[in-house]
Symmetry: C2
Subunit: 542 residues, 2 copies
Amino acid sequence: MKSMYEAGLDQNPANYTPLSPLSFLRRSAMVYPQHPSVVYGDIRFTWSETYLRCRQFASALQQNGLGPGETVAVMLPNVPAMCEAQFAVAMAGGVLNTLNIRLNADSIAFMLKHAEAKVILTDREFSGVIREALQQLDQPPLVIDVDDPVYQAGALIGEIEYEEFLKQGDADFDWQLPDNEWNAISLNYTSGTTGDPKGVVYHHRGAYLNAVSNSLFWNMPQHPVYLWTLPMFHCNGWCFPWTLAAMAGTSVCLRKVQSDLIYQAIQQHRVDHLCGAPIVLNMMAHADSALTEGIDHQVKVMTAGAAPPAAVLEAMQKLNFEVTHAYGLTETYGPAAGCAWKHEWSELDMQKQAELKSRQGVPYPMLEGLMVADPDTMQPVEKDGESMGEIMFRGNIVMKGYLKNPSTTELALHGGWFHSGDLAVWHDDGYIQIKDRSKDIIISGGENISSIEVEGVLYRHPQVMEAAVVALDDEKWGETPCAFVTLKDGEDLSVEALIEFCREHLEHFKAPKAVVFGPLPKTSTGKIQKFRLREQANRLND
Amino acid sequence: MKSMYEAGLDQNPANYTPLSPLSFLRRSAMVYPQHPSVVYGDIRFTWSETYLRCRQFASALQQNGLGPGETVAVMLPNVPAMCEAQFAVAMAGGVLNTLNIRLNADSIAFMLKHAEAKVILTDREFSGVIREALQQLDQPPLVIDVDDPVYQAGALIGEIEYEEFLKQGDADFDWQLPDNEWNAISLNYTSGTTGDPKGVVYHHRGAYLNAVSNSLFWNMPQHPVYLWTLPMFHCNGWCFPWTLAAMAGTSVCLRKVQSDLIYQAIQQHRVDHLCGAPIVLNMMAHADSALTEGIDHQVKVMTAGAAPPAAVLEAMQKLNFEVTHAYGLTETYGPAAGCAWKHEWSELDMQKQAELKSRQGVPYPMLEGLMVADPDTMQPVEKDGESMGEIMFRGNIVMKGYLKNPSTTELALHGGWFHSGDLAVWHDDGYIQIKDRSKDIIISGGENISSIEVEGVLYRHPQVMEAAVVALDDEKWGETPCAFVTLKDGEDLSVEALIEFCREHLEHFKAPKAVVFGPLPKTSTGKIQKFRLREQANRLND
């Protein structure tokens, strides 16, 4: 029997609406129609214009046959069309798959096939790669060119240009919220420890909640001016396109991440928020002081992927830039934890501040569970700052799962927690700190490189017998791949030749920067001891 | 067949957690354990202490037999126990019913019976009323006294004192989030247009979302210092206890709303946020200037229930108090709309600003729908600032429904919208503005008075033939009830005698302040024309 608090008190259209970040777009267009939404070169859009363009885009997608739950891929830098795609595809009932613009044709082709993309938006700069990828497909998608006036090299390869495509759409298009907040909103491929990329699926509920969680964690005010130094193809720009809709902010688009362009934008538009991998902060910290002259307002900077070093923090602080360290994975909608700063810490010396700030921290406001635990027993480790365990996440900003990959999904989410693969300690104040990067991932310039993928290529070389790839610390890139290789008996091969071989079969940034020939250390059961190789690799730096 | 974005991508404990404001308490206790949560007289609690006390409280409730979905009533002013009840009852799986401390024994008895309250917390000041109410019950609840050191008049009438009760509880109590976010979290009775109060049921999802929505709408920073000038028995303090948990803020409790106490608290604790009915603002604006001397920080003030008059706004502005006008009803978790302010409006003269600020505005960030519509056709009115319609709400911060009242619930939510009963126009910029208060409600000092309830008492007088009650504008109270009465043939009765009769049968604040004898204006079908009476009433003020 129903309790009295349940009887006659069911969900209905008056009191229940699926959570979706699309609601934020609609509200900002209504409340702040004249407020700038997007700035790029000479382009200025307001929230009412962005809303109108998104409705046109969504309508045109449906008119061109996009069905519910079908995929629209985009291969775009941070241009206005990329902002619009974050809403319009979902408004059409579709799922947005943002492709990493640094990938090669094979990877792209794999993703377009796997996601069964029906439409792809592309840019002149990537027309070569996309054309090559499309040739590998039996059922190529509709190709739409975004003809960016700022970049006129490369070719147009599509059937229609984006602005023309929009014109096909109805500006009054009666789009609908998803009928279920669990419906997919986007798909983000990530290189994992297995060979093939995994397609991380986000739903409307999680996108809505992490968009708000960004704002709460970062104490964002109404109308932030946000510079797009973070690729929107990374976890949907860490959900920030949706955060900016919730806060009626302004997206300052940036095609290329360069110090001069960054500082010009900061000055010109009074940018007050930006995100970026540590390499971006590093670049900003080392920029010519002429670029930073005259900036008289505070800029808040969020970084993730690795701890910002003390020297960078200090340089940023001198510029009146406030750095926040966040932590997350593609599987957690981008940042889902962060080093929540305490007032009293600002009194400490810079070295101590950097130490505290290097911690990955505490759950995001809307993440319900974060722990460091033994992955076998699922028991949390002691909060002693020494006991190691695996970082695990649970709650509404953990992915729906991996597309077409139920066994890997189950493995990643088993025991009721998402297993990050990152090894950490838990401090007595409840802050977590990564002590060892997940065994097989190398993070180079903010990009994930699967060591297994690189090893796969090494193994394809006819003279290679065994290979293992680990991360090598790198001042510029954070990490680079370092290969340990045993050649077949009697074979001889130069480091240069092997690296060249890798560059032929991989995106260049994935190729090893160092190669060490010799026998590989193994356990008694024959498993390669990567931790020894890591030690050895980092002695190369000494 | 499931689409590829659904297959193998179901909800599970890793990626789905019911939304509940209890998660915010847990997080603030973990991240900011030493930050002050509650300040009251000499009492100081931190977030870790509040969390511990709530666990004890919840544990003690369960030990004393409170079952899932059972009601705990509280008759308390804004004291620390009242803050704790907002969390602990839900942590025990129960539903919190906060009673309006101005009600009389009959009303309280009705509510305790209707809600089947198993426990009641009460305060010395209300021991007389509560004792009288309990005598009307066949199955009286467990009575717990909150023995406030600040108020030592009145009696202790319970079986146990609150602090003793907490000691029975387990500080490590393993409380659980609700298994369903649709579960009830609280019950708030509201006087509607019908005689009996209606029990508005809130669920965890809505409480979570409106708590965050408060913070987004008001641009609250981390660690706000919030003064409790708004009764926590009104819509769970407009959800602010939960907002403060989300933002790790400090509740400055206040037993009695008086200018001197308010300004002392603002000075002593550097209060930066407070809420209150216009009568509170009015009192603050007219306070002795000695009280406000030395306040050198900005205080943000949110008001709802009626538009703040220009003179009050001006006085507040001089004090560097920034007033925000919000709008909502008990059925919408308190504020669910508000006059979102635009920078450029601050340039206008004070009269124009007051005019703009008097509008009820736009949807809260997490309200999905707000419209002014014809209640018969459900068609929105023109956005011309002239066409009148009824304000309607839809979305996740609309109540679950009325307890044990499916027909009234259906009526209130029919057509997929909550019908507010408030009549408004819709301006061309999308802001709504109330033009006529809902026909039958009088809002006096922030309290709802049902004209029908007052009429019911008038009709019980042996000499009264007909009666109608409308709102009379009042400088101090906002509105007071004004009765129009036709006596039976040949009868004679004084205004004083009739008012005295009402005071015997009603809470004093509900008794009419003015009585006019004579015939009542009616339509051709015999319905009393209240709009004419309202005109007539307000001529009394001239």
